[in-house]
C-alpha cells in the first residue's frame, strides 16, 4: 500500500487535468454541472447520510445562495471577473444563517414529518422568491454580471471553483466521519433517543450538520447562478434538485464517503447526455426512468456498499479456498466476515 499517496495524487491530477485534456466546452459544461451536483450531494450526505434525516428541502439553500450572489452583485456593482468567486463563501454563510431557524423548527420532528416539513419549507422559500418582488424582482428574475471570457476558457474557472468546493466538502465529510462529533451523528441515525441518553447532544449536533450542509449548498447555488448568469425562482428553487441529490446519494450509497460523488458522476452526465441524444425522439424520460429503476432494483443498497460487500465476499472466498487458510470462525458468535446484517437483523421482511 506504499503506492497509495501516488495514486491519490494521480487521481487528483486527473480531475484537475480533465478540462485541459478534454477542453471541448460541451464536456466541460457537463463537468461543471457534475461537480456542482457531486459537491451538493456530498454536502447533503453530511447531514442526511450521517444523521439519517432525509431532508428534501436543500434546494431552498441552493436558491438562497444563488439569490444572495445575484443581489450582492447588483447592489455592490461587482465586476464580471473573478470577484464573484471570492463572494461564494459569503453566500454560503448567508444560506447557513437562513438554515439556522429552519433547522431549529424542522429538527423538532422526525421521520416522514421531517421530510415533509423540509419540502414545505422549500415551497415557502420558492414562494417568497416570487412574492418578495422588491428584492427578487419576482418572476422576472435577476441577472448576474456576464464575464467576457472566451468560450474555450469560460468553463475553466467554474470547473475549478466547483472542484475546490467538492474537495472541501469531501474533506469536511471525511473529517466529520472520523470525528467524535460524526460518531454522534451516526449514533443519532441508529437510535436518537439512546444517543441522547448516552450524552450525545443530539439537538445541536443535528443542527450543526444541517447548517454545514446548507453552507456548502448555498455556495454551490451561488456558483451555479454565476455560471448560468440569470436566475428565476423556479430554477433557483427547483424541487427536482432535491430529488436529484437524494437520488445520487442513494445510488452511490448513502452515508458513505464517496457514494454521493459516484452517484452524481453517473446520474448528472447521464441525464444531460440522454436529453441530448434521446430528447428529440421523446424517449429521454422513458430511458432515464428505466435506468433509475434498473439501478435501484439491482443495487438497492447503493453502489459503494454493494461493491464493498462483493469485495469482502470475494476475499473471503479466496481465503477459504486457499489451502492453509485459518479454520473458519467459530459458529457462535457469527463470524465477522458473514454478510447478513440487513436481513438477519430486520427479520421477517427479508426471508419469505
Amino acid at each position: 500500500m506504499k503506492s497509495k499517496p501516488i495514486w491519490l495524487l494521480a487521481l487528483l491530477a486527473a480531475a484537475v487535468a480533465l478540462p485541459l485534456v478534454f477542453p471541448n466546452p460541451t464536456i466541460t459544461t457537463i463537468a461543471v454541472l457534475t461537480v456542482i451536483f457531486a459537491a451538493a450531494a456530498t454536502a447533503w450526505n453530511i447531514f442526511a447520510g450521517y444523521t439519517g434525516y432525509i431532508a428534501l428541502g436543500h434546494a431552498a439553500f441552493f436558491g438562497t445562495g444563488a439569490y444572495s450572489l445575484a443581489i450582492i452583485c447588483q447592489h455592490w456593482h461587482v465586476p464580471a471577473d473573478f470577484t464573484p468567486f471570492a463572494l461564494l463563501p459569503l453566500c454560503g454563510v448567508i444560506a447557513a444563517v437562513v438554515s439556522l431557524p429552519l433547522g431549529l423548527v424542522a429538527l423538532r420532528t422526525r421521520g416522514h414529518t421531517f421530510i415533509v416539513i423540509t419540502i414545505a419549507m422549500f415551497f415557502v422559500a420558492q414562494l417568497l422568491a416570487y412574492d418578495l418582488r422588491g428584492v427578487t424582482h419576482g418572476s422576472a428574475g435577476l441577472s448576474l454580471p456576464i464575464p467576457l471570457w472566451s468560450g474555450d476558457f469560460y468553463n475553466m474557472p467554474f470547473y475549478y471553483a466547483g472542484l475546490l468546493i467538492l474537495l472541501l466538502a469531501l474533506a469536511v465529510s471525511w473529517w466529520i466521519r472520523n470525528s467524535k462529533y460524526g460518531l454522534g451523528l451516526l449514533a443519532i441515525r441508529d437510535d436518537e433517543d439512546r444517543a441522547l441518553g448516552l450524552g450525545v447532544k443530539t439537538g445541536p449536533s443535528k443542527l450543526l450538520a444541517f447548517v454545514i450542509s446548507a453552507f456548502f449548498v448555498g455556495m454551490l447555488g451561488a456558483l451555479w447562478a454565476y455560471y448560468i448568469e440569470s436566475i428565476f425562482p423556479p430554477f433557483a428553487f427547483d424541487a427536482l434538485f432535491d430529488v436529484a441529490i437524494a437520488l445520487m446519494t442513494f445510488m452511490g450509497g448513502i452515508g458513505t464517503l464517496v457514494g454521493p460523488i459516484l452517484g452524481a458522476l453517473l446520474l448528472e452526465p447521464a441525464q444531460q447526455l440522454f436529453a441530448v441524444y434521446f430528447g428529440q425522439s421523446g424517449w429521454y424520460l422513458v430511458l432515464y426512468g428505466a435506468l433509475l429503476l434498473v439501478v435501484i432494483l439491482l443495487l438497492p443498497e447503493g453502489i459503494v456498499p454493494t461493491i464493498r460487500k462483493r469485495w469482502a465476499q470475494w476475499t473471503a472466498a479466496r481465503a477459504r479456498s486457499s489451502p492453509n487458510s485459518p479454520a473458519p470462525a467459530p459458529p457462535l458468535p457469527p463470524s465477522p466476515t458473514s454478510q447478513h446484517p440487513a436481513i438477519a437483523a430486520r427479520g421477517e421482511g427479508g426471508e419469505r
Binding site: 414545505a120 414562494l127 448513502i254 421523446g282 424520460l285 435501484i296 436481513i343 421477517e348
Partner: protein, 291 residues
C-alpha cells in the same frame, strides 16, 4: 361574506377530489410503509385513459371508470410486483426513488403517445351548473365530490367491515403476527397497492374534468398530495379527507380575501404549525421510539 362562503364551498367540493387522489397514497403508506411518488403520474394516466374512452368510444366519464378502475387496479398489481416487492431495506426512501422512476417512464410514454398538447375531459356536466341559495354550483364539482364520498365510503366499508379489511388492518399493525396467522401478506399488500392505484383512476377522472392536463401535469399534484397525507396523518383515510378539504378551503378563502399569491404560503404555514404541535398529523398515530 358571500364570496368567502362560496370559496369555502368550492374548497370543500374540490377537497373531495383531492381526497380521492390522496386516499390511495395514504392507504399504501399505512399498509406497506412506502410513499408512492408516482401517484401524480398515475392520476394523469387515469385521466388519459378516460380521455381515450371518451374520444374513441364516446363513453360517459363516469361509465368509463368501470373500465379504467379495474385496468388501473391491474396496473397497480403489476407495479407492486415488479418494483415494490423486491425492495427489502430502506423501503421508505427507495420506494420514493422507484416510484419516481415509474412516474418518469409513465410521463415519457404518455408524451410519446398523446404529445404534450393540453386536453380536457368533456361532458355535458363539465360546463353546466345549477343554482342553489343564490349562486351557481357546477355539476362536475358536485359529482366529483359525490364520487369521492361514495368511493371513500366503500373503502371504509372494505377496511372496517370485511374480512379482507381486517387482514389489511392486521398487516398494518404487525406484519409478522399477520403472517403467522395465515394472512397472505404479499397478496394483501399487492391488492392494497392495486386499490390505491384504482382510486387514482377515479381521482384522475375528476381532475381531468376540472383541469386541462398534459403528461407533465403531475408535478404540481404530487407535492400537494404528499402534504395532504402528512397533514391528515399518514395512513389515516379520514385524515386524508379532512386535510384535503382543509387545504382547499384555506387556499381558496385566502385567495379571495387576500391574494392567490399568498394562499399556498398561508396553507404551508398552517401545516408547519400543526406539525409542530402534532408531529404525527391530525389523525396520525404517535410514532415515538421512546420506551
Amino acid at each position: 361574506m358571500d364570496l368567502i362562503l362560496q370559496a369555502a364551498i368550492i374548497g370543500i367540493l374540490t377537497g373531495g377530489v383531492y381526497a380521492l387522489m390522496a386516499s390511495g397514497l395514504t392507504l399504501t403508506f399505512g399498509v406497506m410503509e412506502i410513499i408512492n411518488i408516482g401517484q401524480g403520474a398515475l392520476v394523469i394516466l387515469g385521466a388519459y385513459l378516460i380521455y381515450v374512452l371518451e374520444q374513441k368510444l364516446h363513453l360517459d366519464l363516469f361509465v368509463g371508470l368501470l373500465i379504467t378502475m379495474p385496468l388501473m387496479f391491474g396496473f397497480g398489481l403489476l407495479i407492486e410486483w415488479a418494483f415494490v416487492r423486491p425492495l427489502k431495506r430502506d423501503r421508505i426512501m427507495l420506494s420514493i426513488l422507484v416510484t419516481f422512476g415509474v412516474a418518469l417512464v409513465i410521463e415519457g410514454l404518455l408524451g410519446l403517445i398523446f404529445t404534450t398538447d393540453l386536453v380536457r375531459l368533456q361532458a355535458w356536466y363539465t360546463t353546466a351548473s345549477f343554482q342553489v341559495a343564490g349562486f351557481y354550483l357546477s355539476y362536475i364539482y358536485v359529482f366529483g365530490f359525490l364520487l369521492s364520498v361514495v368511493l371513500l365510503a366503500a373503502l371504509y366499508f372494505l377496511i372496517y367491515r370485511t374480512k379482507f379489511g381486517a387482514s389489511l388492518r392486521a398487516l398494518m399493525e404487525n406484519r409478522t403476527a399477520a403472517q403467522l396467522i395465515g394472512i397472505p401478506v404479499e397478496r394483501v399488500s399487492a391488492i392494497t397497492f392495486g386499490i390505491g392505484v384504482a382510486l387514482t383512476a377515479a381521482g384522475g377522472m375528476a381532475f381531468g374534468a376540472t383541469n386541462s392536463f398534459n403528461p407533465g401535469s403531475s408535478y404540481d399534484l404530487i407535492s400537494r398530495l404528499l402534504v395532504i397525507i402528512v397533514l391528515g396523518g399518514m395512513g389515516s383515510l379520514g385524515g386524508a379527507l379532512i386535510a384535503s378539504v382543509l387545504m382547499l378551503v384555506i387556499e381558496d378563502v385566502t385567495a379571495v380575501i387576500w391574494s392567490p399569491i399568498w394562499s399556498t404560503t398561508v396553507f404551508f404555514i398552517v401545516l408547519v404549525i400543526v406539525l409542530l404541535v402534532r408531529p404525527q398529523g391530525l389523525f396520525g398515530q404517535v410514532a415515538g421510539r421512546k420506551q
